[in-house]
Protein backbone atom coordinates (compact mmCIF):
# COMPACT_ATOMS: atom_id res chain seq x y z
CA UNK A 1 0.00 0.00 0.00
CA UNK A 2 2.80 2.42 0.96
CA UNK A 3 4.59 1.50 -2.21
CA UNK A 4 1.46 2.23 -4.26
CA UNK A 5 1.17 5.71 -2.74
CA UNK A 6 4.86 6.39 -3.36
CA UNK A 7 4.41 5.37 -6.99
CA UNK A 8 1.35 7.56 -7.43
CA UNK A 9 3.23 10.56 -5.98
CA UNK A 10 6.26 9.87 -8.14
CA UNK A 11 4.29 9.75 -11.38
CA UNK A 12 2.27 12.80 -10.34
CA UNK A 13 5.45 14.77 -9.69
CA UNK A 14 6.90 13.91 -13.09
CA UNK A 15 3.65 14.93 -14.82
CA UNK A 16 3.52 18.25 -12.99
CA UNK A 17 7.15 18.98 -13.85
CA UNK A 18 6.52 18.18 -17.49
CA UNK A 19 3.57 20.49 -17.57
CA UNK A 20 5.32 23.35 -15.76
CA UNK A 21 7.23 24.01 -18.97
CA UNK A 22 4.04 25.28 -20.60
CA UNK A 23 2.77 28.01 -18.33
CA UNK A 24 0.92 29.98 -20.99
CA UNK A 25 -1.01 26.83 -21.80
CA UNK A 26 -2.06 26.58 -18.18
CA UNK A 27 -3.58 30.07 -18.11
CA UNK A 28 -5.28 29.45 -21.42
CA UNK A 29 -6.86 26.28 -20.06
CA UNK A 30 -7.83 27.94 -16.81
CA UNK A 31 -9.59 30.56 -18.87
CA UNK A 32 -11.34 27.86 -20.92
CA UNK A 33 -12.57 26.14 -17.75
CA UNK A 34 -14.24 29.39 -16.72
CA UNK A 35 -15.73 29.80 -20.21
CA UNK A 36 -17.12 26.27 -20.17
CA UNK A 37 -18.77 26.65 -16.78
CA UNK A 38 -20.08 30.06 -17.84
CA UNK A 39 -21.60 28.60 -21.01
CA UNK A 40 -23.27 25.81 -19.05
CA UNK A 41 -24.77 28.34 -16.64
CA UNK A 42 -26.04 30.43 -19.57
CA UNK A 43 -27.81 27.30 -20.83
CA UNK A 44 -29.50 26.83 -17.43
CA UNK A 45 -30.50 30.52 -17.49
CA UNK A 46 -31.95 30.01 -20.99
CA UNK A 47 -33.92 26.93 -19.93
CA UNK A 48 -35.50 28.67 -16.95
CA UNK A 49 -36.15 31.80 -18.97
CA UNK A 50 -38.69 29.59 -20.78
CA UNK A 51 -39.99 27.28 -18.10
CA UNK A 52 -40.33 26.83 -14.34
CA UNK A 53 -39.33 23.23 -13.97
CA UNK A 54 -37.55 20.51 -15.85
CA UNK A 55 -39.14 17.22 -14.77
CA UNK A 56 -39.41 18.61 -11.23
CA UNK A 57 -35.95 20.23 -11.22
CA UNK A 58 -35.92 23.98 -10.60
CA UNK A 59 -33.03 26.29 -11.50
CA UNK A 60 -31.28 25.82 -8.17
CA UNK A 61 -31.32 22.04 -8.68
CA UNK A 62 -30.00 22.50 -12.20
CA UNK A 63 -27.12 24.72 -11.03
CA UNK A 64 -26.14 21.88 -8.69
CA UNK A 65 -26.32 19.46 -11.62
CA UNK A 66 -24.16 21.74 -13.79
CA UNK A 67 -21.63 21.80 -10.97
CA UNK A 68 -21.64 18.02 -10.67
CA UNK A 69 -21.32 17.61 -14.44
CA UNK A 70 -18.26 19.90 -14.40
CA UNK A 71 -16.72 18.07 -11.43
CA UNK A 72 -17.12 14.72 -13.16
CA UNK A 73 -16.26 15.85 -16.70
CA UNK A 74 -13.10 17.54 -15.39
CA UNK A 75 -12.35 14.96 -12.72
CA UNK A 76 -12.21 12.01 -15.09
CA UNK A 77 -9.69 13.91 -17.22
CA UNK A 78 -7.25 14.08 -14.29
CA UNK A 79 -6.53 10.36 -14.17
CA UNK A 80 -9.09 8.15 -15.86
CA UNK A 81 -9.29 9.36 -19.47
CA UNK A 82 -5.58 10.14 -20.08
CA UNK A 83 -4.46 6.83 -18.55
CA UNK A 84 -6.94 4.70 -20.42
CA UNK A 85 -6.00 6.51 -23.63
CA UNK A 86 -2.37 5.59 -22.89
CA UNK A 87 -3.29 1.93 -22.30
CA UNK A 88 -5.10 1.70 -25.62
CA UNK A 89 -2.10 3.27 -27.32
CA UNK A 90 0.26 0.82 -25.58
CA UNK A 91 -1.82 -2.18 -26.56
CA UNK A 92 -1.85 -1.05 -30.17
CA UNK A 93 1.87 -0.32 -30.30
CA UNK A 94 2.84 -3.34 -28.24
CA UNK A 95 4.58 -1.13 -25.66
CA UNK A 96 2.41 -2.52 -22.88
CA UNK A 97 5.29 -4.97 -22.43
CA UNK A 98 7.18 -2.31 -20.49
CA UNK A 99 4.31 -2.04 -18.03
CA UNK A 100 3.86 -5.78 -17.61
CA UNK A 101 7.56 -6.33 -17.00
CA UNK A 102 7.59 -4.06 -13.96
CA UNK A 103 7.20 -5.74 -10.57
CA UNK A 104 4.02 -3.82 -9.76
CA UNK A 105 0.36 -4.67 -10.11
CA UNK A 106 -0.36 -3.93 -13.78
CA UNK A 107 -3.82 -2.47 -13.18
CA UNK A 108 -2.43 -0.01 -10.65
CA UNK A 109 0.42 1.02 -12.91
CA UNK A 110 -1.69 1.60 -16.04
CA UNK A 111 -4.10 3.70 -13.97
CA UNK A 112 -1.61 6.20 -12.53
CA UNK A 113 0.96 6.94 -15.22
CA UNK A 114 -0.65 10.14 -16.46
CA UNK A 115 -1.74 12.92 -14.15
CA UNK A 116 -3.35 16.05 -15.60
CA UNK A 117 -3.30 18.22 -12.52
CA UNK A 118 -4.63 21.46 -14.02
CA UNK A 119 -8.03 19.83 -14.42
CA UNK A 120 -8.46 20.39 -10.69
CA UNK A 121 -9.70 23.80 -11.74
CA UNK A 122 -12.82 22.06 -13.05
CA UNK A 123 -13.34 20.38 -9.71
CA UNK A 124 -12.99 23.67 -7.83
CA UNK A 125 -15.32 25.49 -10.24
CA UNK A 126 -17.83 22.63 -10.26
CA UNK A 127 -17.86 22.42 -6.46
CA UNK A 128 -18.45 26.17 -6.24
CA UNK A 129 -21.42 25.96 -8.61
CA UNK A 130 -22.87 22.96 -6.77
CA UNK A 131 -22.43 24.67 -3.40
CA UNK A 132 -24.06 27.86 -4.68
CA UNK A 133 -27.07 25.93 -6.04
CA UNK A 134 -27.51 24.00 -2.80
CA UNK A 135 -27.19 27.19 -0.75
CA UNK A 136 -29.82 28.95 -2.87
CA UNK A 137 -32.16 26.03 -2.26
CA UNK A 138 -31.82 26.15 1.49
CA UNK A 139 -29.42 28.15 3.62
CA UNK A 140 -29.03 25.19 5.97
CA UNK A 141 -27.25 22.50 4.03
CA UNK A 142 -26.89 19.62 6.49
CA UNK A 143 -23.84 17.49 7.12
CA UNK A 144 -25.89 14.46 6.06
CA UNK A 145 -26.42 16.04 2.64
CA UNK A 146 -22.74 16.90 2.26
CA UNK A 147 -21.48 13.45 3.30
CA UNK A 148 -23.95 11.55 1.12
CA UNK A 149 -22.94 13.83 -1.74
CA UNK A 150 -19.25 13.07 -1.17
CA UNK A 151 -20.05 9.37 -1.03
CA UNK A 152 -22.12 9.54 -4.24
CA UNK A 153 -19.32 11.39 -6.03
CA UNK A 154 -16.79 8.79 -4.93
CA UNK A 155 -19.10 6.04 -6.19
CA UNK A 156 -19.57 7.93 -9.47
CA UNK A 157 -15.81 8.11 -10.04
CA UNK A 158 -15.45 4.42 -9.15
CA UNK A 159 -18.14 3.48 -11.67
CA UNK A 160 -16.59 5.58 -14.45
CA UNK A 161 -13.15 4.20 -13.69
CA UNK A 162 -14.49 0.64 -13.95
CA UNK A 163 -16.31 1.49 -17.17
CA UNK A 164 -13.15 2.94 -18.73
CA UNK A 165 -11.00 0.06 -17.59
CA UNK A 166 -13.44 -2.29 -19.27
CA UNK A 167 -13.39 -0.18 -22.46
CA UNK A 168 -9.58 -0.15 -22.45
CA UNK A 169 -9.54 -3.90 -21.92
CA UNK A 170 -11.60 -4.31 -25.07
CA UNK A 171 -8.45 -3.07 -26.82
CA UNK A 172 -6.93 -6.53 -26.33
CA UNK A 173 -9.40 -7.93 -28.86
CA UNK A 174 -10.17 -4.94 -31.06
CA UNK A 175 -6.91 -3.16 -31.68
CA UNK A 176 -8.37 0.06 -33.07
CA UNK A 177 -10.84 1.13 -30.45
CA UNK A 178 -9.57 4.64 -29.67
CA UNK A 179 -12.83 5.80 -31.13
CA UNK A 180 -14.55 4.18 -28.21
CA UNK A 181 -13.81 7.48 -26.50
CA UNK A 182 -16.23 9.20 -28.86
CA UNK A 183 -18.92 6.72 -27.85
CA UNK A 184 -18.27 7.51 -24.21
CA UNK A 185 -18.57 11.29 -24.66
CA UNK A 186 -21.68 10.82 -26.78
CA UNK A 187 -23.43 8.93 -24.01
CA UNK A 188 -22.02 11.24 -21.34
CA UNK A 189 -23.70 14.15 -23.13
CA UNK A 190 -27.04 12.79 -21.94
CA UNK A 191 -25.88 13.35 -18.34
CA UNK A 192 -26.07 17.13 -18.67
CA UNK A 193 -29.76 16.95 -17.81
CA UNK A 194 -31.54 14.94 -15.11
CA UNK A 195 -32.44 11.44 -16.31
CA UNK A 196 -36.04 12.12 -15.22
CA UNK A 197 -36.65 13.99 -18.49
CA UNK A 198 -36.42 10.74 -20.47
CA UNK A 199 -39.20 8.19 -21.05
CA UNK A 200 -39.20 5.51 -18.34
CA UNK A 201 -37.51 2.79 -20.42
CA UNK A 202 -34.65 5.15 -21.28
CA UNK A 203 -34.44 6.17 -17.62
CA UNK A 204 -34.18 2.55 -16.58
CA UNK A 205 -31.47 1.87 -19.18
CA UNK A 206 -29.51 4.96 -18.11
CA UNK A 207 -29.63 3.74 -14.51
CA UNK A 208 -28.96 0.04 -14.73
CA UNK A 209 -27.53 -0.72 -18.19
CA UNK A 210 -25.36 2.38 -18.66
CA UNK A 211 -25.14 3.71 -15.09
CA UNK A 212 -25.21 7.36 -16.17
CA UNK A 213 -27.79 8.30 -13.52
CA UNK A 214 -25.29 7.40 -10.78
CA UNK A 215 -22.72 9.70 -12.31
CA UNK A 216 -24.50 13.06 -12.47
CA UNK A 217 -28.22 12.99 -11.64
CA UNK A 218 -28.10 11.06 -8.36
CA UNK A 219 -25.14 12.87 -6.75
CA UNK A 220 -26.74 16.22 -7.63
CA UNK A 221 -30.13 15.10 -6.28
CA UNK A 222 -28.51 13.93 -3.03
CA UNK A 223 -26.79 17.26 -2.44
CA UNK A 224 -30.06 19.11 -2.84
CA UNK A 225 -31.71 16.68 -0.39
CA UNK A 226 -34.98 17.45 -2.14
CA UNK A 227 -37.44 14.69 -3.07
CA UNK A 228 -38.90 16.93 -5.81
CA UNK A 229 -35.92 15.94 -7.97
CA UNK A 230 -37.25 12.39 -8.10
CA UNK A 231 -33.96 10.87 -6.93
CA UNK A 232 -34.85 7.82 -4.80
CA UNK A 233 -33.82 7.94 -1.13
CA UNK A 234 -32.03 4.62 -1.39
CA UNK A 235 -29.81 5.94 -4.24
CA UNK A 236 -26.64 5.82 -2.03
CA UNK A 237 -27.24 2.12 -1.38
CA UNK A 238 -27.66 1.43 -5.08
CA UNK A 239 -24.62 3.55 -5.93
CA UNK A 240 -22.44 1.77 -3.38
CA UNK A 241 -23.54 -1.62 -4.71
CA UNK A 242 -23.05 -0.54 -8.31
CA UNK A 243 -19.56 0.80 -7.56
CA UNK A 244 -18.41 -2.40 -5.84
CA UNK A 245 -19.84 -4.69 -8.50
CA UNK A 246 -18.40 -2.69 -11.41
CA UNK A 247 -14.95 -2.40 -9.78
CA UNK A 248 -14.79 -6.15 -9.21
CA UNK A 249 -16.14 -7.00 -12.65
CA UNK A 250 -13.72 -4.68 -14.46
CA UNK A 251 -10.78 -5.96 -12.40
CA UNK A 252 -11.66 -9.52 -13.39
CA UNK A 253 -12.12 -8.47 -17.02
CA UNK A 254 -8.72 -6.72 -17.09
CA UNK A 255 -6.98 -9.87 -15.82
CA UNK A 256 -8.89 -11.98 -18.33
CA UNK A 257 -7.98 -9.56 -21.14
CA UNK A 258 -4.28 -9.58 -20.20
CA UNK A 259 -4.14 -13.26 -21.07
CA UNK A 260 -5.07 -12.32 -24.62
CA UNK A 261 -2.27 -9.80 -24.96
CA UNK A 262 0.31 -11.10 -27.38
CA UNK A 263 2.96 -8.38 -27.04
CA UNK A 264 5.04 -6.31 -29.38
CA UNK A 265 6.54 -9.17 -31.33
CA UNK A 266 3.17 -10.39 -32.56
Amino acid sequence: MRRAIQLILLYARVSVQNFAAYRFDFFMRLFMSFVQLGAELVIVYTIFFNTKSLAGWRWQHMVVLVGVYRIVAGGIRIYIVPNMRAVLEDIREGTLDFVLLKPVNSQLLVSIREFVFWRFTDIVLGLSAAAYGAYKLSVHVTWVQVTTFAFMLAAAFAIIYALWLALATLGFWFIRVQNIEMVFWNVFEAGRYPVMIYPSWVQWSLTFLIPLAFITTFPAGMLTGDSATGVPLHAPLLAGGMAVVSLLASHWFWRYGLKHYSGASA
Binding site: F31, I43, T51, M182, Y193
Partner: protein
Protein backbone atom coordinates in the same frame (compact mmCIF):
# COMPACT_ATOMS: atom_id res chain seq x y z
CA UNK B 1 -10.62 27.47 -65.74
CA UNK B 2 -11.45 24.46 -67.92
CA UNK B 3 -9.19 22.36 -65.73
CA UNK B 4 -11.01 23.37 -62.56
CA UNK B 5 -13.99 20.99 -62.76
CA UNK B 6 -11.63 18.11 -63.46
CA UNK B 7 -9.38 19.01 -60.53
CA UNK B 8 -12.42 19.39 -58.29
CA UNK B 9 -13.79 15.99 -59.31
CA UNK B 10 -10.41 14.35 -58.77
CA UNK B 11 -10.00 15.85 -55.29
CA UNK B 12 -13.54 14.80 -54.41
CA UNK B 13 -12.80 11.22 -55.49
CA UNK B 14 -9.62 11.08 -53.42
CA UNK B 15 -11.38 12.49 -50.37
CA UNK B 16 -14.28 10.05 -50.68
CA UNK B 17 -11.84 7.15 -50.93
CA UNK B 18 -10.12 8.47 -47.78
CA UNK B 19 -13.42 8.70 -45.92
CA UNK B 20 -14.43 5.18 -46.86
CA UNK B 21 -11.14 3.94 -45.48
CA UNK B 22 -12.04 5.39 -42.07
CA UNK B 23 -15.73 4.56 -42.09
CA UNK B 24 -15.84 3.47 -38.43
CA UNK B 25 -14.39 6.82 -37.36
CA UNK B 26 -16.76 8.89 -39.41
CA UNK B 27 -19.71 6.80 -38.22
CA UNK B 28 -18.88 7.70 -34.61
CA UNK B 29 -18.34 11.30 -35.62
CA UNK B 30 -21.80 11.50 -37.14
CA UNK B 31 -23.44 9.80 -34.13
CA UNK B 32 -22.83 12.96 -32.09
CA UNK B 33 -24.95 14.84 -34.63
CA UNK B 34 -27.82 12.54 -33.72
CA UNK B 35 -27.33 12.27 -29.95
CA UNK B 36 -26.96 15.99 -29.25
CA UNK B 37 -30.21 17.18 -30.90
CA UNK B 38 -32.06 14.16 -29.49
CA UNK B 39 -31.03 14.99 -25.92
CA UNK B 40 -31.97 18.65 -26.49
CA UNK B 41 -35.32 17.63 -27.98
CA UNK B 42 -36.15 15.53 -24.89
CA UNK B 43 -35.00 18.34 -22.60
CA UNK B 44 -37.10 21.03 -24.32
CA UNK B 45 -40.14 18.75 -24.60
CA UNK B 46 -39.86 18.21 -20.85
CA UNK B 47 -39.38 21.94 -20.29
CA UNK B 48 -42.53 22.64 -22.32
CA UNK B 49 -44.39 20.37 -19.89
CA UNK B 50 -43.11 22.47 -16.97
CA UNK B 51 -44.11 25.89 -18.37
CA UNK B 52 -47.43 27.62 -17.74
CA UNK B 53 -48.89 27.31 -21.23
CA UNK B 54 -47.20 24.05 -22.27
CA UNK B 55 -44.93 25.76 -24.78
CA UNK B 56 -41.32 26.96 -24.96
CA UNK B 57 -40.29 29.71 -27.36
CA UNK B 58 -43.77 29.49 -28.89
CA UNK B 59 -43.37 25.79 -29.64
CA UNK B 60 -45.49 23.01 -28.18
CA UNK B 61 -44.25 19.42 -27.81
CA UNK B 62 -44.75 18.69 -31.51
CA UNK B 63 -43.20 22.04 -32.44
CA UNK B 64 -40.10 21.14 -30.41
CA UNK B 65 -39.97 17.73 -32.13
CA UNK B 66 -40.18 19.15 -35.67
CA UNK B 67 -37.68 21.89 -34.83
CA UNK B 68 -35.08 19.51 -33.42
CA UNK B 69 -35.58 17.00 -36.22
CA UNK B 70 -34.86 19.89 -38.61
CA UNK B 71 -31.84 20.96 -36.53
CA UNK B 72 -30.54 17.39 -36.76
CA UNK B 73 -30.61 17.57 -40.57
CA UNK B 74 -29.27 21.15 -40.71
CA UNK B 75 -26.46 20.29 -38.29
CA UNK B 76 -25.28 17.50 -40.55
CA UNK B 77 -25.56 19.35 -43.84
CA UNK B 78 -23.81 22.49 -42.52
CA UNK B 79 -21.05 20.73 -40.56
CA UNK B 80 -17.55 22.30 -40.81
CA UNK B 81 -14.48 21.51 -38.76
CA UNK B 82 -11.53 23.37 -40.36
CA UNK B 83 -11.07 25.44 -37.23
CA UNK B 84 -9.95 22.24 -35.49
CA UNK B 85 -7.86 20.96 -38.38
CA UNK B 86 -5.97 24.00 -39.61
CA UNK B 87 -3.52 24.42 -36.73
CA UNK B 88 -2.56 20.78 -37.15
CA UNK B 89 -1.98 21.27 -40.88
CA UNK B 90 0.14 24.37 -40.29
CA UNK B 91 2.16 22.82 -37.44
CA UNK B 92 2.86 19.60 -39.31
CA UNK B 93 3.70 21.45 -42.49
CA UNK B 94 1.11 19.45 -44.45
CA UNK B 95 -0.14 22.68 -45.90
CA UNK B 96 3.08 23.36 -47.79
CA UNK B 97 2.56 20.80 -50.61
CA UNK B 98 -1.03 21.99 -50.97
CA UNK B 99 0.18 25.55 -51.39
CA UNK B 100 2.37 24.50 -54.30
CA UNK B 101 -0.60 23.26 -56.28
CA UNK B 102 -2.11 25.65 -58.82
CA UNK B 103 -5.39 25.57 -56.87
CA UNK B 104 -6.18 27.13 -53.49
CA UNK B 105 -5.93 24.71 -50.52
CA UNK B 106 -9.47 25.68 -49.54
CA UNK B 107 -10.75 23.61 -52.48
CA UNK B 108 -9.16 20.48 -51.11
CA UNK B 109 -10.80 21.18 -47.78
CA UNK B 110 -14.16 21.85 -49.47
CA UNK B 111 -14.06 18.53 -51.30
CA UNK B 112 -13.13 16.84 -48.01
CA UNK B 113 -16.14 18.44 -46.40
CA UNK B 114 -18.44 17.28 -49.21
CA UNK B 115 -16.91 13.79 -49.12
CA UNK B 116 -17.73 13.51 -45.41
CA UNK B 117 -21.31 14.50 -45.98
CA UNK B 118 -21.74 12.14 -48.93
CA UNK B 119 -20.16 9.10 -47.28
CA UNK B 120 -21.97 9.55 -43.95
CA UNK B 121 -25.36 9.68 -45.67
CA UNK B 122 -25.61 5.90 -45.43
CA UNK B 123 -25.30 6.15 -41.63
CA UNK B 124 -27.29 9.25 -40.90
CA UNK B 125 -30.30 8.53 -43.10
CA UNK B 126 -31.26 5.37 -41.13
CA UNK B 127 -30.63 7.20 -37.85
CA UNK B 128 -32.85 10.10 -38.93
CA UNK B 129 -35.51 7.54 -39.88
CA UNK B 130 -35.31 5.90 -36.42
CA UNK B 131 -35.71 9.28 -34.71
CA UNK B 132 -38.62 10.10 -37.03
CA UNK B 133 -40.48 6.87 -36.35
CA UNK B 134 -39.98 6.95 -32.58
CA UNK B 135 -40.73 10.65 -32.03
CA UNK B 136 -43.18 11.04 -34.94
CA UNK B 137 -42.92 14.81 -35.47
CA UNK B 138 -45.84 16.11 -37.49
CA UNK B 139 -44.75 18.59 -40.17
CA UNK B 140 -47.25 21.14 -41.46
CA UNK B 141 -44.63 22.64 -43.77
CA UNK B 142 -45.90 23.74 -47.22
CA UNK B 143 -44.12 22.72 -50.45
CA UNK B 144 -42.81 26.27 -51.01
CA UNK B 145 -41.28 26.21 -47.53
CA UNK B 146 -39.52 22.94 -48.29
CA UNK B 147 -38.21 24.39 -51.54
CA UNK B 148 -36.82 27.54 -49.92
CA UNK B 149 -35.49 25.47 -47.01
CA UNK B 150 -33.31 23.56 -49.47
CA UNK B 151 -31.84 26.86 -50.71
CA UNK B 152 -31.42 28.10 -47.14
CA UNK B 153 -29.63 24.86 -46.22
CA UNK B 154 -27.07 25.32 -48.99
CA UNK B 155 -26.52 28.98 -48.05
CA UNK B 156 -26.25 28.04 -44.37
CA UNK B 157 -23.66 25.37 -45.18
CA UNK B 158 -21.61 27.79 -47.30
CA UNK B 159 -21.82 30.47 -44.61
CA UNK B 160 -20.71 28.20 -41.76
CA UNK B 161 -17.99 26.70 -43.93
CA UNK B 162 -16.52 30.04 -45.03
CA UNK B 163 -16.71 31.56 -41.56
CA UNK B 164 -15.18 28.46 -39.96
CA UNK B 165 -12.35 28.40 -42.51
CA UNK B 166 -11.67 32.12 -42.13
CA UNK B 167 -11.50 31.81 -38.34
CA UNK B 168 -9.23 28.79 -38.80
CA UNK B 169 -6.73 31.03 -40.60
CA UNK B 170 -5.79 32.40 -37.15
CA UNK B 171 -3.62 29.27 -37.11
CA UNK B 172 -1.14 31.13 -39.29
CA UNK B 173 -0.48 33.53 -36.42
CA UNK B 174 -1.02 31.29 -33.36
CA UNK B 175 -0.26 27.62 -33.80
CA UNK B 176 -2.38 26.31 -30.92
CA UNK B 177 -5.96 26.86 -31.88
CA UNK B 178 -7.93 24.46 -29.64
CA UNK B 179 -9.47 27.23 -27.57
CA UNK B 180 -10.51 29.23 -30.65
CA UNK B 181 -12.17 26.14 -32.10
CA UNK B 182 -14.06 25.46 -28.91
CA UNK B 183 -15.27 29.04 -28.67
CA UNK B 184 -16.36 29.12 -32.32
CA UNK B 185 -18.22 25.86 -31.87
CA UNK B 186 -19.83 27.08 -28.64
CA UNK B 187 -21.08 30.21 -30.39
CA UNK B 188 -22.55 28.08 -33.19
CA UNK B 189 -24.44 26.04 -30.59
CA UNK B 190 -25.61 28.89 -28.38
CA UNK B 191 -26.28 31.69 -30.89
CA UNK B 192 -27.16 29.44 -33.82
CA UNK B 193 -30.40 28.21 -32.31
CA UNK B 194 -29.09 24.73 -31.62
CA UNK B 195 -29.02 24.70 -27.82
CA UNK B 196 -32.29 26.62 -27.73
CA UNK B 197 -34.59 27.99 -30.45
CA UNK B 198 -33.73 31.65 -31.15
CA UNK B 199 -37.12 32.81 -29.86
CA UNK B 200 -36.34 31.24 -26.49
CA UNK B 201 -33.03 33.02 -25.90
CA UNK B 202 -32.94 35.34 -22.89
CA UNK B 203 -32.00 39.03 -23.23
CA UNK B 204 -28.36 39.87 -24.03
CA UNK B 205 -27.90 36.41 -25.56
CA UNK B 206 -30.69 37.06 -28.04
CA UNK B 207 -29.28 40.50 -28.85
CA UNK B 208 -25.91 38.92 -29.58
CA UNK B 209 -27.60 36.29 -31.73
CA UNK B 210 -29.37 38.98 -33.72
CA UNK B 211 -26.22 40.80 -34.80
CA UNK B 212 -23.99 37.76 -35.43
CA UNK B 213 -24.29 35.42 -38.43
CA UNK B 214 -24.78 32.15 -36.53
CA UNK B 215 -28.57 32.03 -36.64
CA UNK B 216 -28.44 32.32 -40.44
CA UNK B 217 -26.31 29.17 -40.54
CA UNK B 218 -28.55 26.85 -38.52
CA UNK B 219 -31.69 28.34 -36.98
CA UNK B 220 -33.10 29.94 -40.12
CA UNK B 221 -32.93 26.85 -42.39
CA UNK B 222 -34.33 24.73 -39.55
CA UNK B 223 -37.21 27.16 -38.95
CA UNK B 224 -38.08 27.12 -42.65
CA UNK B 225 -37.97 23.32 -42.68
CA UNK B 226 -40.11 23.07 -39.54
CA UNK B 227 -42.62 25.54 -40.97
CA UNK B 228 -41.97 28.14 -38.24
CA UNK B 229 -41.23 30.83 -40.86
CA UNK B 230 -44.78 31.31 -42.10
CA UNK B 231 -44.75 34.13 -44.66
CA UNK B 232 -42.88 34.27 -48.00
CA UNK B 233 -41.76 37.82 -47.11
CA UNK B 234 -40.05 36.57 -43.95
CA UNK B 235 -38.47 33.71 -45.88
CA UNK B 236 -37.13 35.97 -48.64
CA UNK B 237 -35.77 38.44 -46.08
CA UNK B 238 -33.99 35.58 -44.36
CA UNK B 239 -32.48 34.30 -47.59
CA UNK B 240 -31.34 37.86 -48.30
CA UNK B 241 -29.60 38.01 -44.90
CA UNK B 242 -27.92 34.70 -45.62
CA UNK B 243 -26.72 35.86 -49.04
CA UNK B 244 -25.40 39.12 -47.57
CA UNK B 245 -23.46 37.28 -44.86
CA UNK B 246 -22.08 34.81 -47.41
CA UNK B 247 -20.82 37.68 -49.59
CA UNK B 248 -19.30 39.44 -46.58
CA UNK B 249 -17.58 36.28 -45.37
CA UNK B 250 -16.11 35.52 -48.78
CA UNK B 251 -14.63 39.03 -48.93
CA UNK B 252 -13.30 38.61 -45.40
CA UNK B 253 -11.76 35.27 -46.34
CA UNK B 254 -9.95 36.82 -49.31
CA UNK B 255 -8.52 39.61 -47.19
CA UNK B 256 -7.40 37.32 -44.36
CA UNK B 257 -6.06 34.66 -46.74
CA UNK B 258 -3.78 37.16 -48.45
CA UNK B 259 -2.36 38.31 -45.14
CA UNK B 260 -2.05 34.73 -43.90
CA UNK B 261 -0.18 33.51 -46.93
CA UNK B 262 2.40 36.29 -46.60
CA UNK B 263 2.85 35.25 -43.01
CA UNK B 264 3.23 31.55 -43.83
CA UNK B 265 6.67 31.73 -45.47
CA UNK B 266 8.01 32.86 -42.10
CA UNK B 267 6.56 29.87 -40.25
CA UNK B 268 7.57 27.13 -42.64
CA UNK B 269 11.32 27.60 -42.12
Amino acid sequence: MSGFPRAFAAMLRVNIANMIQYRAEILLWSVWGIVNPTVLYVMWASAAGGSDDGTVAGLDRNGVATYYFSIMIVGHVTAAWDVYEMSYLVRKGSLSPQLLRPILPIWNSITGNLAYKITTMMFVLPMWAVFFFIVRPHFSTQPWQFGLAAVALVLGAVLNYMMCYTVALIAFWATKLDAVGEIYFGLCMMLGGRVAPIAGLPPVVSELAAVLPFQWMFAFPAELLAGIVTTPQEAMAGLGMQAAWVALTIILFNVVWRAAIRRYSAVSG
